[in-house]
């Protein structure tokens, strides 16, 4: 009997030790949790500060870049008849450089708005085919310069659709711009619209360009992504265009996906409810 009591007392002591150890571990876990929370809050705060800094810097750049663009356009208009070929080329390159800074600034501002969740859409009833026509016309000089053929196949049952024209225009512009940039001289681009019976509008932009490697179809929509073959053609991009385009389409509860064109090139399919 006495022996049993001694054994029980030993077990109780062991149990007390275990409980005490568990309490200590529990306190340490709570402390660790507090430390992790603090670290997380610090990181969040740093990230917010970084985003705010980018926003302020981009906003500050906007005005001088705007006036530089106006000045370039004014010079191009007033001097076009008096400049020789070299001077014209120099002016054009300067204007292109200013445009690049402008596009970069606008992309960073857009990225910030998306990351802050500040992007909203303002849908109005509009024609997507008109929007596509206007996009193609705006790119006409580059299309002609690269001797590209643009085929248009618009749906016979086309109708007015509710969408934010500025946002969808931006998305289409990004895709179309890439199609022109990455399609070799003399290549082909095709633009189609389809209105499906399940109330989905589909815009497809095909090109016969460099395409995207197998397994990288989703990666191209991540921010700051530039694939090697794209960088070789255009080293100046920062890899935001398709990220922004997909964000805008998703704001419309739509999708933007990439598929391979055959035998080579890309197909971007933009689908929104209509």
């Amino acid at each position: 009997m006495e022996e049993k009591e001694v054994q029980m007392q030993a077990e109780i002591d062991q149990l007390k030790k275990t409980i005490s150890g568990m309490e200590l571990t529990s306190k340490m876990l709570v402390r660790r949790d507090i430390d992790l929370r603090r670290a997380y809050d610090n990181l969040k705060s740093l990230d917010r500060e970084k985003t705010e800094f980018v926003s302020i810097a981009a906003h500050q750049l906007r005005t001088p870049v705007t006036t530089a663009r106006w000045a370039m356009k004014s010079l191009e208009t007033s001097l076009s008849a008096t400049l020789d070929t070299d001077q014209s080329e120099l002016l054009e390159r300067a204007a292109n450089s200013v445009d690049r800074i402008f596009n970069l600034t606008e992309d960073l501002l857009e990225l910030n708005r998306i990351d802050f969740g500040d992007t909203s859409i303002h849908p109005v009833s509009s024609s997507v085919e008109k929007l596509l026509e206007s996009t193609i016309e705006d790119h006409r000089p580059q299309i002609e310069k690269r001797l590209l053929t643009v085929e248009k196949v618009y749906a016979a049952n086309s109708k007015a659709v509710c969408f934010d024209p500025a946002k969808i225009r931006d998305a289409v512009d990004n895709i179309f711009d890439n199609a022109i940039k990455y399609t070799p001289v003399g290549g082909e681009i095709k633009v189609t619209t389809t209105y499906n019976p399940d109330n989905q509008l589909q815009i497809k932009i095909y090109d016969t360009g460099i395409g995207v490697g197998k397994g990288l179809e989703e990666k191209i929509f991540q921010k700051f992504t530039r694939l090697g073959n794209a960088e070789a053609v255009d080293p100046n991009g920062i890899g935001l265009g398709l990220y922004v385009a997909r964000s805008f389409v998703e704001k419309h509860k739509g999708t933007l996906v990439y598929t391979h064109n055959q035998p080579h090139g890309s197909i971007f399919t933009l689908t929104i409810p209509c």
Binding site: H59, R62, T63, P64, V65, T66, T67, R69, W70, A71, K73, S74, F102, T105, E106, L109, R113, D118, T119, S120, H122
Partner: protein
């Protein structure tokens, strides 16, 4: 300099008057040059605090108004313009680099007639908007 941006151009009874309320002298310079070429009579104001007084004296048909100004914001100026009957026929184009999504609805509610973002508006477009508003 394309011209002296801080001086109004000669008064002519037949010209549409445009008051440019803007604190960036480069922008004043370029807008003034463009509008003068397009046949408008212009007057620049760089201090938001002076905008209402200058508008009263100049009696413009159209005001081009920046939002971020020293001493008085564009929003405050819009509010004061809408409270004074002498400006009931004056058209206001807000010309800013502030994001359209965050500001357009508010300034239109305050009485602005148009909202143009400088970065995405070339000067020819600005001229055509002024012509349209001036009738």
């Amino acid at each position: 300099m394309l011209n002296d941006p801080l001086r109004s151009h000669p008064v002519s009874p037949n010209k549409t008057k445009v008051l440019i309320v803007e604190d960036d002298t480069m922008i004043i310079d370029m807008v003034t040059h463009k509008l003068t070429d397009a046949g408008f009579e212009t007057k620049p104001v760089i201090d938001g605090g002076q905008a209402i007084a200058e508008a009263t004296l100049f009696d413009p048909t159209v005001i081009i108004l920046d939002l971020m100004l020293p001493n008085k914001s564009g929003e405050e100026i819009l509010k004061e313009l809408s409270e004074q009957t002498i400006f009931s026929n004056t058209k206001v184009i807000v010309f800013t680099n502030k994001n359209r999504e965050e500001n357009e609805a508010h300034v239109l509610e305050l009485g602005a007639h148009e909202y143009l973002v400088k970065a995405s508006t070339d000067l020819d477009t600005l001229v055509s908007h002024i012509k349209q508003l001036a009738g």
